[in-house]
């Protein structure tokens, strides 16, 4: 049984890693289009990516939109999560459900909806339009992550802080916030990644003005299969890896140096 599980694990890892094994070498390819295995290796497509405005502008758009989406999402999700997790009120379960609705509706339905709705409002093909749409989609994800964290939060800690002389505000600043920080960061990261990665809605409403990176990649692969796509995929993968490993590295380094010296 354990043997079977082990092999299953190996298969799953191979399955997940396979695209990387193909994409990463292709980004260093010298071929004219996507081709595996590459006939030769070079940095040509990295240079192409970093010098071509038709790639850099969508990249920049995506960064701006994802950042704005993250900020807006967190502004909505943090108070909402505290209210929904900690307080009993009429209609709470309905509010809970509404928070998660965007997860249940197919993206394409959302996209069509936004297209006609934002069209009427005159914000289709604008950054604001994309940010609003992405926020609606990121809210349930950020909410799920944060509410799981908040449910696991031991409220005795807040009572302890208050008994020790901390006002509710100071309790929030000195105790609640620092302890929830990892949850908040992960929640924000998910919101950012969701926006950065979102394709379907972007294709419908981002237009030329607010063109996002995934939309540009989609257009590109349909037209010419430009190996720059492999470059972008590799860079994104490196970034995610950094995001995952980075914090652990920092924590490991910090643990080696005790912060308070014994008197």
């Amino acid at each position: 049984m354990t043997r079977f599980m082990k092999w299953l694990g190996v298969v799953v890892v191979i399955f997940i890693a396979a695209p990387l094994v193909i994409v990463v070498p292709m980004s260093f390819s010298t071929a004219r289009s996507l081709q595996f295995p590459p006939p030769g290796y070079g940095l040509g497509y990295y240079q192409a990516y970093f010098s071509d405005p038709s790639w850099l502008i969508p990249t920049w758009n995506s960064i701006i939109i994802a950042t704005a989406t993250t900020v807006l999402t967190m502004l909505l999700v943090v108070p909402a999560t505290f209210a929904l997790v900690r307080h009993q009120f009429r209609g709470r379960s309905i509010a809970d459900l509404m928070m998660l609705m965007p997860l249940a509706v197919p993206s394409i339905v959302m996209a069509v909806g936004y297209y006609s709705y934002f069209g009427a409002m005159g914000i289709v093909h604008t950054h604001i339009g994309v940010v609003l749409a992405h926020t609606a989609l990121a809210v349930p994800i950020a909410f799920l992550v944060l509410s799981a964290n908040l449910k696991g939060f031991d409220r005795t800690l807040e009572r302890a802080a208050m008994s020790l002389g901390a006002s509710p505000t100071k309790t929030f600043i000195h105790v609640t916030l620092p302890i929830l920080r990892p949850g908040l960061i992960i929640s924000a990261l998910f919101a950012f990644i969701h926006s950065f990665d979102e394709t379907v809605v972007s294709i419908f409403i981002s237009g030329r003005n607010a063109e996002t990176l995934p939309r540009k990649m989609f257009d590109s692969i349909r037209q010419e299969a430009d190996p720059v796509i492999a470059v972008i995929s590799t860079l994104l993968f490196a970034l995610v890896l950094l995001g995952l490993v980075g914090p652990r590295l920092v924590a490991a380094l910090r643990n080696r140096r005790p912060r308070v010296q014994a008197a």
Partner: protein
């Protein structure tokens, strides 16, 4: 001179009455224990004193000053919670510094004071450790240091030793008493463990179903319980239903035992239903009746050996009786044998309620 006063406290959660007319006074520096089964209202009372719960009616006063209207952080009351409530993102020293930080003490001076406090609770050189790097007993000590460092007007401990194993528990009982005496802080200690209450307290408050059942010094509680509940809750006892037959001759009649003479009391009235309490260690076990004592025939059912002593449990008629004997004496008796138990009238304590 009373220092802490609880006056007529009632607490209801909807229809459910969690506290029913709780009144209590404690002197400055006193160590008072709340003892009672789970759900009897001990924590609720503490939380009302601390300001986390609001009493439906009644008031709490410290040193003659009502606490009403003060938020928890304005009350200057130290609390040790059962699961310690240490801040996981702060070191032991930073945890102990926290209440000083909230009182605007500078970091350097505050951390120095925190280290001194940690030393008092026996944790010198542990200041730089995070809670997860400390054992349960050590975390307990940090929580105690943190609750005491700001010189609170009252210290509340809610079942603080519940999560510790037996040896560590006993060690911490002694530690807590030592530190409490050294600082002279008025303390309320909550427990459902009667031996813990007996060994630590100046006075014990027995809770039952949201009411205070009895308030007394540990030995008074043991020897002079006012209610059947207290008699049954504190230590082992034989509780016998009886009816007073003659208050002058001090006799009551009980099923299976007949007329039983009891110790002097002013509580008995003729014809009244009462409970007679005889502690197992106040009875003697023998093969034959002993002259000058009240004797009864008992059939031994179970012998529980504790090494230094043993508890012999058997039946007099349908009545279950427990007798404590010295470990060395237990050889004279075997299970399923008939034997004699005996006592003197002084050992029979009458409980009117």
């Amino acid at each position: 001179m009373s220092y802490l006063d609880l006056k007529g406290i009632n607490k209801s959660y909807g229809q459910f009455v969690a506290l029913n007319d709780v009144n209590l006074s404690a002197a400055k520096g006193e160590f008072v224990t709340f003892l009672g089964p789970s759900g009897s209202g001990k924590t609720t009372t503490l939380m009302i004193i601390a300001g986390f719960e609001k009493a439906t009616t009644g008031s709490v006063e410290i040193d003659g000053r009502p606490l009403q209207g003060l938020a928890p952080h304005e009350r200057n009351i130290g609390i040790v919670f059962q699961n310690y409530g240490l801040f996981p993102h702060k070191t032991a020293a930073e945890n102990v510094y926290f209440p000083l930080q909230m009182r605007s003490v500078k970091r350097a001076a505050g951390l120095k004071r925190a280290e001194e406090m940690l030393e008092l609770v026996g944790l010198r050189d542990f200041g730089h450790r995070y809670p997860k790097e400390l054992s349960g007993g050590q975390q307990q000590r940090v929580a105690l240091a943190r609750a005491l460092v700001f010189e609170p007007s009252l210290l509340l401990l809610d079942e603080p030793l519940g999560a510790l194993d037996k040896n560590l528990r006993e060690q911490m009982q002694i530690e807590i008493k030592r530190i409490q005496r050294a600082l002279g802080v008025t303390t309320i200690f909550v427990t459902h463990d009667q031996t813990e209450a007996m060994s630590m307290s100046d006075r014990i408050v027995v809770f039952e179903g949201g009411r205070i059942n009895q308030v007394a010094a540990p030995l008074d509680l043991y020897h002079k319980p006012e209610t059947r509940f207290v008699a049954g809750f504190i230590g082992e006892s034989n509780l016998i239903e009886a009816v007073v037959t003659d208050p002058v001759a001090r006799t009551a009649s009980a099923a299976h035992l007949g007329e039983v003479e009891y110790a002097p009391t002013d509580k008995a009235k003729k014809g009244q239903g009462v409970t007679l309490m005889i502690r197992p260690e106040h009875m003697r076990l023998s093969r034959n009746p002993i002259e000058g004592r009240r004797n009864a025939q008992m059939k031994v059912e179970t012998i529980v050996n504790y090494g230094d002593n043993a508890l012999v449990i058997g039946k007099v008629g349908d009545l279950t009786m427990r007798v404590r004997v010295l470990g060395a004496d237990v050889v004279i008796i075997k299970e399923n044998q008939d034997c004699c138990i005996s006592w003197t009238p002084d050992a029979v304590y009458l409980i009117a309620k």
